[in-house]
């Protein structure tokens, strides 16, 4: 049994080459493989499921309509899809989209009892994790979603975000550092609230 450890770039490129030739099966195969990561990326950036679904469908419609043309992805397929997803996001909500506008109490009702920090982090619910993530500026959110959430390489992330590798390297560090402070703050609030 052979298992490819890291993202299967050759297979991806082969699929893309076939799709560019107009192979419909290959295009649908790309949809099956890449919808989940694109959806996940969008889901963490927008307010609800429906918006994420709409945007994800926009991304793949755009892919279908351009894959055979001159503006077809000339770089990695994944990178291209994430780039389009990011552009869609910015086109719909502006570059400074930032969530949430609500307070934590409105965002989610539950409070937790006092617990050690590591325990607290692990018990943070999906909601609270999202809340904390959305307190970051968009660039920081995106770098974390791409690197930690979707396991993209540093280079891919840099390409998608239009930044240098070293800029992304510091950005991801700062982003996590800030997220950690936010989590600490939320913990304080819930402890004393």
């Amino acid at each position: 049994m052979i298992v490819i450890i890291l993202p299967d770039i050759p297979a991806e490129d082969r699929l893309l080459a076939q799709a560019r030739q107009g192979d419909q099966t290959a295009i649908m195969e790309i949809y099956e493989s890449y919808f989940p990561p694109i959806y996940q990326f969008l889901r963490l950036r927008v307010g609800n499921k429906d918006e994420a679904e709409d945007l994800a469908s926009e991304v793949f419609l755009k892919f279908v309509s351009t894959v055979r043309g001159r503006s077809a992805p000339n770089v990695s397929l994944r990178g291209w899809l994430f780039q389009v997803a990011r552009n869609e996001l910015h086109a719909h909500y502006g570059k400074n989209l930032r969530f949430p506008t609500t307070t934590l109490e409105e965002w989610m009702p539950a409070a937790s009892e006092t617990e050690p920090e590591s325990q607290f982090i692990h018990n943070l619910s999906v909601e609270r994790s999202r809340y904390a993530l959305r307190m970051l500026v968009p660039d920081q959110q995106e770098v974390l979603i791409l690197r930690f959430g979707q396991a993209l390489s540093l280079q891919e992330t840099a390409d998608i975000m239009g930044k240098s590798v070293s800029a992304v390297k510091s950005l991801q560090f700062r982003a996590v550092d800030t997220l950690r402070q936010i989590v600490g703050q939320i913990k304080m609030e819930t402890d004393h609230g």
Binding site: I5, G22, P73, P116, L133, F173
Partner: protein, 419 residues
């Protein structure tokens, strides 16, 4: 500069997590930063926790699928446009006539995917047919295909390529054809019947990483010079070593052909040079053929789940480049579980060799049986296996959002999927 190193260590840890290693694996790799890295990596892990459940994603994907497949079927197929091809041909002919037969037109430097590339091919077809299919001209055009592929690789462009040439070496899935490194997987059509020395046609594509992958191999002519199908590592240079005192065999610089050097002398000299690799890692002198050879003091190692070449390099105090070179690997990502590679020594273990603990039943869909790699039963490390950690790791192993059924624990948290 310490801060810079910390950034790099953190970055490397993210890659390790992505490759399936645990936070503890990473902390062990950077003991000097462990105290700072641990809370950061745990925080980073929140991102996965925040993701939508598998159920939500699948539902959305099902709803959108119809829309996409509709759009796909509405796309016109290129094959339904015969006039387009015809018009290219006419335009190509016109260009050839205007510019003159093959004189330095812009198109002649174009590459696959370029606008003028169609003209280039068309003009070649015309020239070839006008020449009465002259074999020398045909060969020159074939050579162009190889040069184009090489150029695309240099430019890291993604294009389809097609060229013909001799198979110079086969090392697993890495072949060398017409001096190009080609990735040929065992399931690539046509690849199984090819031996070193055969003349083949390669249909494939180039990648943004500067790699060339074959999608189909077509045997043009079998190598009849030497019936030696068993040995894959012996290159085909052998037939060219005729005992005549040829000056072209420049691998032995001392042998100037004017001297009264006996032919046998040069023969033995070159023969000892090529087939047996010298233990020092110098590149073989004449040919650019690569076949993995184990240096005498190196060991064989089987790739395990979670291994990365850079990780293995670090664990064996070798450089990544060195390992790539010895194993004839063109790309650090191209390793597979179970693959055998050569390393300077047995890698220091990072995960404890004990099998995964009983409570860890996430692995129901993990096929590799040997050393699950993530069993983080810390019990023998100097690294302070504090109690909270061993709890945490069982959580970290659940990459799959929908995997709650496997957990006995009470703190399931991945399943609420809407706001």
């Amino acid at each position: 500069m310490a801060e810079r190193n910390l950034l790099d260590a953190f970055d490397d840890c993210i890659d390790r997590l992505a490759a399936g290693q645990s936070i503890d694996d990473c902390l062990r790799a950077y003991p000097q930063y462990a105290a700072r890295l641990q809370p950061m990596l745990e925080t980073g892990a929140l991102v996965r926790r925040a993701q939508a459940s598998q159920r939500e994603v699948t539902a959305a994907q099902d709803r959108v699928r119809f829309q996409i497949s509709q759009a796909v079927t509405q796309q016109p197929s290129r094959r339904e446009q015969p006039f387009r091809r015809l018009s290219v041909l006419v335009a190509g002919l016109a260009l050839v006539l205007i510019v003159g037969l093959g004189s330095g037109a812009l198109a002649q430097n174009s590459l696959p995917g370029d606008m003028l590339y169609g003209f280039k091919l068309t003009s070649e077809t015309v020239i070839l047919s006008l020449s009465g299919n002259d074999s020398i001209i045909a060969e020159r055009f074939e050579q162009r295909r190889i040069e184009e592929a090489a150029r695309l690789l240099e430019l890291m462009r993604t294009e389809n390529v097609r060229f013909a040439g001799q198979v110079q070496a086969i090392g697993g899935s890495i072949w060398r054809v017409a001096n190009l490194v080609v990735n040929v997987e065992s399931e690539t059509p046509g690849s199984s019947e090819v031996n070193i020395g055969d003349q083949i046609r390669v249909d494939g594509f180039t990648t943004p990483q500067g790699e060339l992958f074959a999608s189909q191999i077509t045997l043009i002519e079998r190598n009849t010079d030497e019936a030696d199908p068993t040995s894959t590592s012996v290159p085909t240079i052998a037939p060219s070593f005729t005992p005549t005192n040829e000056p072209s065999l420049t691998s032995t610089p001392t042998a100037t052909p004017t001297n009264t050097l006996t032919p046998t002398h040069t023969l033995t000299a070159t023969l000892t040079n090529t087939p047996t690799p010298s233990p020092t890692l110098s590149v073989p002198p004449t040919a650019t053929i690569c076949s993995p050879n184990k240096p005498s003091n190196w060991v064989s190692y089987q790739i395990q789940t979670g291994d990365t070449l850079s990780g293995l390099a670090a664990r064996t105090d070798a450089s990544l480049a060195e390992i790539l070179a010895v194993n004839c690997l063109s790309d650090a990502r191209l390793i597979i579980v179970g693959q055998e590679i050569f390393l300077p020594r047995t890698p220091t273990t990072i995960a404890s060799p004990t099998p995964p603990p009983v409570g860890n039943d996430n692995g129901s869909n993990n096929p590799p049986p040997s050393n699950g790699g993530q069993g983080d039963n810390v019990n023998n490390d100097d690294n302070g296996g504090d109690n909270s950690n061993s709890n945490d790791n069982s959580d970290d192993n659940s990459n799959d959002n929908e995997d709650n059924s496997g957990h006995g624990g009470g703190s399931d948290d991945n399943d609420n999927d809407d706001d």
